[in-house]
């Protein structure tokens, strides 16, 4: 390379320059990506690993103790009244929350799709709770669903006095493990507040989905003599299925992680009727100093999210590539 004939020098210089530029570009790409990559590796994966390690230790006091405890903390949780109640509450809350968010979001999207006057006003109104903090929602709904005031002042005239989040009834309950297994009525109150806040998300998704269906599709079906009902039921709803899957997954992970809304609205509740793993983890770790127990709850939460989030991420990334 050092002894280049004068005639070729031009092209060689160009070639080396191109090579140099390419490699310096790659170096810059590395510089751009590396900070984010390293931060994620440490703060997400490294820390999850560390939490897993803590969950297998005996660190259940103020003084860190990393001696190996095996699955002791996990075994404890699954026999613990409070944690069993948390699992029950989360299960019923998730079903209720997702069901209502989808039903309400889809119905509103279809209604707003009917060439409504003031459509944007309605839309913005239904979206705005999404911009609020769960803490604000919790504070306001705590008062609205307070049994002695709030909406009960209206319901009183109909002779109903729901106890909302103070109700300790477990509907259709039967003894299972330490707990009464069934629908905790108090979780309905929390569900209403959560639905109020999150319906905007499914509505936005469904509106985007409906807009993505070309008018010709509907026209063609109409030409074939389909009724409006049939068009929605047989053509539009099936096309919205991927959106429903996305909404379910996103809402489920929010529901499994939920903490701030419940913490600010009700707390664990009497007999833990509104307790969830997020609240238990926070209280036992940072108020009770049971770090290993808290870490075990966190790992269970993580696994419950990962079970469906990982397949969803992989499939949606594949679908794009």
């Amino acid at each position: 390379m050092e002894t280049v004939k004068p005639t070729n020098s031009q092209s060689v210089i160009q070639a080396t320059r191109k090579k140099k530029k390419l490699s310096s570009d790659h170096l810059m790409a590395l510089v751009f990506l590396l900070p984010s990559f390293i931060l994620i590796v440490i703060f997400v994966y490294g820390f999850i690993g560390w939490t897993g390690y803590v969950s297998l230790s005996n660190w259940n006091s103020l003084i860190p103790d990393f001696s190996f405890a095996g699955l002791k903390n996990y075994l404890y949780l699954f026999t613990d009244f409070r944690f069993q109640a948390d699992l029950r509450n989360t299960l019923f809350f998730t079903i209720l929350f997702i069901g209502l968010v989808i039903l309400l979001g889809l119905s509103l999207a279809i209604l707003l799709d009917q060439k409504i006057k003031g459509e944007s006003i309605f839309r913005n109104l239904f979206f705005f709770p999404m911009a609020l903090s769960f803490v604000v929602t919790g504070v306001v709904w705590q008062w609205l669903l307070n049994p002695s005031t709030g909406v009960n002042l209206f319901l009183k005239t109909f002779g109903i006095h729901p106890k909302w989040y103070t109700d300790t009834t477990i509907l259709a309950g039967f003894k299972w493990g330490q707990i009464e297994f069934g629908l905790p009525v108090a979780m309905i109150a929390v569900g209403i507040a959560a639905v109020w806040q999150m319906t905007g998300f499914s509505l936005a998704m469904y509106i985007a989905g409906l807009r993505g269906i070309p008018d010709e599709t509907r026209e063609a079906a109409r030409m074939d003599g389909a009724t409006e009902f049939q068009i929605y039921w047989k053509i539009i709803l099936p096309q919205l299925r991927p959106i429903t899957v996305s909404v379910i997954i996103i809402m489920a992970h929010i529901s499994l992680k939920i903490f701030d809304l419940i913490y600010s609205m009700t707390g664990p509740g009497a007999n833990f009727v509104t307790d969830v793993p997020g609240v238990y983890m926070f209280e036992t770790t940072f108020r009770g100093n049971y770090y290993a127990n808290g870490a075990a709850i966190a790992i269970i939460m993580l696994l419950s999210v990962a079970i469906f989030m990982v397949p969803y991420l992989i499939s949606s990334r594949k679908g794009e590539a």
Binding site: F126, P129, E228, S246
Partner: protein
């Protein structure tokens, strides 16, 4: 496109009914915050105040003002930094793909769905170790780091739509990696920056778990202070409602002015974009 089974008036009736459900908390929030304390009895919570009393706002403001400032000190740098990091990594992951970059991207994305409880214990140990526990800079670091996945996702999805030909022709004209970023990607992604910034601003402002575990008393952002306000023994509902409104105001204003971008961010969070 009328659903023939339901007529228009019924549709409006349903929509207005649902609107009332959505407005109810806001109505109560506002009228309660404007009542003098003696008028807040359980029986007349729905009634309009007889006199408009804004003293609850001055009281709530005097209690929350330091925390509101904390929130601004937190949110502004955290939003700017995480948008920048997101733009940088989104650029590489969309226009400078390499072997394994898709897997790397998916691994990064997972970070936005984890329950933060699962990293909280080591995070706090780490922040104590480096002296950032109970500081606003500590919270900024946390929000920047955990904002990387969503910001990267948003920018990557934005940049994917910029045609490769533009970049190729810029390269032929002698632009390098940085030149393309500065002269093509950034100018074309101004609205992308707005979406990401609004999304990060709203999320970080509203965030509670990190705020309540990483900071105490005078370092706390406004949401924790609001929560503490409701935890005090004598609940002054008017002050609390005024406080809730004050705490929500910045994100509400952003939503009212730039709602379109907020909804775009909302949709981008569902991964497929």
């Amino acid at each position: 496109m009328v659903l023939r089974s339901i007529s228009k008036p019924i549709i409006y009736l349903i929509l207005i009914g649902v609107s009332l459900f959505f407005l109810m908390p806001i109505y109560v929030l506002i009228i309660t915050s404007l009542k003098p304390l003696e008028e807040i009895t359980l029986a007349n919570m729905w009634k309009f105040p007889s006199v408009l009393d804004v003293s609850s706002y001055s009281e709530a403001f005097s209690k929350l003002a330091p925390n509101l400032m904390n929130s601004f000190y937190l949110v502004i740098p955290a939003t700017i930094l995480s948008s920048m990091l997101g733009a940088m990594s989104g650029y590489v992951l969309s226009k400078w793909k390499f072997k394994g970059s898709e897997i790397l991207f998916t691994l990064m994305l997972f970070g936005m769905f984890i329950p933060y409880q699962s990293i909280l214990i080591p995070l706090i140990q780490f922040l104590r170790e480096v002296g950032l526990y109970n500081t606003i800079p500590g919270l900024i670091l946390v929000h920047v780091v955990y904002g990387i996945p969503i910001a990267t996702l948003m920018f990557r999805n934005f940049y994917v739509n910029i045609p490769d030909e533009m970049i190729e022709s810029a390269k032929i004209d002698g632009a390098n990696f940085l030149g393309v970023f500065r002269h093509i990607m950034i100018p074309l992604s101004i609205s992308g920056f707005v979406v990401v910034a609004i999304w990060q601003f709203t999320n970080i402002w509203n965030e509670f778990l990190f705020a309540v575990t990483i900071t105490t008393s005078d370092q706390q952002p406004v949401m924790v202070a609001l929560q503490n306000l409701s935890g005090s023994q004598i609940v002054q509902w008017n002050v609390q409602m005024a406080g809730a409104l004050l705490a929500a105001l910045p994100t509400l204003i952003v939503y009212i002015l730039l709602g379109k971008y907020f909804v775009k961010g909302l949709l981008a969070g569902s991964v497929k974009g």
